[in-house]
């Protein structure tokens, strides 16, 4: 139902210990976010993309499509940061126009910030995709359990994850049934149909939760859900590799503190 979830289960990095993958994704993301020049984020983007495409074996078309998902937010957000609007005396603009006392334009500093932001966001997104394309949700949840995240939170997570698929399927069946009866023919009917769908979906979810509770109670449910986990041995070579890559990225981030753009626009 979710392509990302399917790839997570079939990726070639699936057998790797989930803790290693999580640590790699998070540490790299922190380095990427902490960096003040575009060099380290670009390296992060390259390394993560390489890992996803060549180590995990995710098709590049799919990965490229995923990369375009946050693009609308990214482009709008970056442009908003880059463009400065002022009513008073204009700041030292690189380029701009004044219309009726309002000045719209770029300053060198805002442009530089926007470029850095663009690269950093893409780098961080690639870290997120590395994690979500190689590690199934169930393993992320079991990691959280081991990190002593409150039991209630973890249990709710696993219940919600389990039922997303059930409810999604129910909703899709309802949608097909409605739209095959012209339920979404006009805006007005669409609102009524969707309202009906959601209300019914709520009723169905409610009854399903009661049925689940009855089923659990008849199997001696006493307040916590226990599931079997497949133990995975951590691999020393993987940990060494992760440490080496992140060390390289951290050094790169520190070394290139000045930034590429500063040299282009002195």
């Amino acid at each position: 139902m979710f392509a990302i979830d399917q790839y997570a289960y079939t990726s070639r990095l699936r057998p790797v210990h989930p803790g290693e993958k999580l640590a790699f994704a998070l540490v790299t993301m922190v380095i990427c976010l902490a960096s003040v020049s575009p060099a380290a984020p670009l390296a992060v983007l390259l390394i993560m993309t390489g890992a996803v495409l060549f180590r995990a074996g995710i098709p590049w078309r799919f990965y490229l499509k995923l990369m375009t998902l946050p693009l609308s937010f990214l482009i709008i957000g970056v442009l908003t940061v880059a463009v400065s609007i002022s009513t008073g005396p204009p700041p030292p603009l690189l380029s701009g126009r004044t219309l009726g006392g309002i000045t719209i334009g770029f300053t060198a500093a805002s442009l530089q910030l926007a470029v850095l932001l663009f690269v950093k966001s893409l780098g961080a997104v690639s870290c997120l995709y590395f994690l979500s394309l190689t590690t199934p949700m169930v393993e992320v949840i079991s990691l959280l359990r081991r990190f002593k995240v409150p039991a209630l939170f973890v249990e709710l997570m696993s219940l919600i994850y389990r039922f997303i698929f059930v409810i999604m399927e129910t909703a899709e069946k309802m949608y097909v049934a409605q739209s095959s009866r012209w339920g979404y023919a006009s805006i007005k009917t669409a609102y009524i149909s969707l309202g009906q769908l959601v209300a019914n979906l709520f009723g169905k979810s409610y009854h399903r939760s009661q049925a689940l509770f009855t089923a659990l109670q008849s199997r001696c449910y006493n307040g916590d859900l226990r599931v079997l986990e497949t133990p995975r041995a951590p691999s020393r070579s993987n940990i060494m590799l992760i440490a080496a890559v992140d060390l390289f990225l951290a050094v790169l981030a520190l070394y290139t503190g000045g930034g590429l753009i500063a040299r282009i626009h002195p």
Binding site: L33, P70, L74, V125, L131, I160, I164, R208, F213
Partner: protein, 252 residues
């Protein structure tokens, strides 16, 4: 970049962009992965945690007294996630995705919504590539703390003053969404203050730009929530009454 070309170039880029991606599906405004600087990520996580802990404690209390509530919350969370993946035809002609902020707050109460909303945001980041891990704190505060609190307060105020139900539902859902978007704009403005005018000017910029998608979304969702609540009130009255266990006890 020379002075002459930069501005027309920007306009051209904007036009090309909207020609390439017409009829955007407006999603609720989640800050994407990596967009916030590290210190703001940490700050919003720190703001989120007390609310999350308070939510967990109160849910825990209800669950101790009434163990079936845990299953109900699990299903409700999944319901909220599926809701956010649906499309409502928007009043402007494109599509937008409901946030479920208003409906969730009305049905499950603001404290339960904080916990459910946080989990839904994690799943949205990992399964739908929407939102992110580093921005989870900021998104939870806007989407699962501020939004539901506003919705719930408005809905309750509407009930107290005896306003018609459709009005209080509409206001709760619409203003819950709008406040979510205002909070997100504030979070972005705090992280990226404008060189002239500071946080206020920057917030005006972000609010102005995202209003294009977020205001129609809020109005559409307000309308949809009225339809949903009307159907629920006429066909699912018993479930709603049983559900009030959750809002009453979780709140206490």
């Amino acid at each position: 970049m020379s002075k002459k070309f930069a501005f027309p170039l920007l306009v051209a880029a904007g036009v090309v962009y909207f020609l390439l991606f017409p009829q955007q599906n407006a999603y609720a405004m989640h800050i994407m992965e990596g967009f916030l600087p590290l210190k703001w990520c940490i700050f919003w996580y720190a703001v989120m945690i007390p609310f999350l802990v308070a939510g967990l404690i109160s849910i825990n209390k209800t669950v101790q007294a009434n163990p079936g509530v845990k299953m109900l919350l699990g299903l409700s969370g999944a319901f909220a996630f599926v809701l956010s993946a649906m499309k409502i035809p928007s009043v402007t002609g494109s599509c937008s995705h409901p946030t479920g902020v208003g409906l969730g707050a009305i049905l499950f109460g603001p404290t339960a919504m904080t916990v459910l909303g946080c989990i839904v945001l994690i799943f949205q980041a990992l399964l739908l590539a929407h939102g992110g891990i580093s921005t989870l704190g900021a998104n939870t505060v806007s989407m699962a703390v501020v939004g539901p609190l506003v919705s719930y307060a408005l809905f309750k105020a509407g009930q107290k003053t005896g306003a018609p139900r459709w009005l209080s539902v509409f206001l709760a859902a619409t203003l819950g969404d709008l406040m979510t978007y205002v909070t997100t704009s504030l979070q972005l403005a705090l992280a990226f203050p404008a060189p002239t005018g500071g946080v206020a000017a920057s917030m005006a910029k972000f609010m102005g730009i995202f209003a294009v998608t977020q205001v129609p979304l809020a109005v559409s969702e307000g309308l949809l929530t009225i339809v949903i609540i009307n159907f629920l009130a006429s066909y699912n009255r018993r479930e709603l009454e049983e559900l009030s266990v959750l809002t009453r006890e979780v709140r206490a």
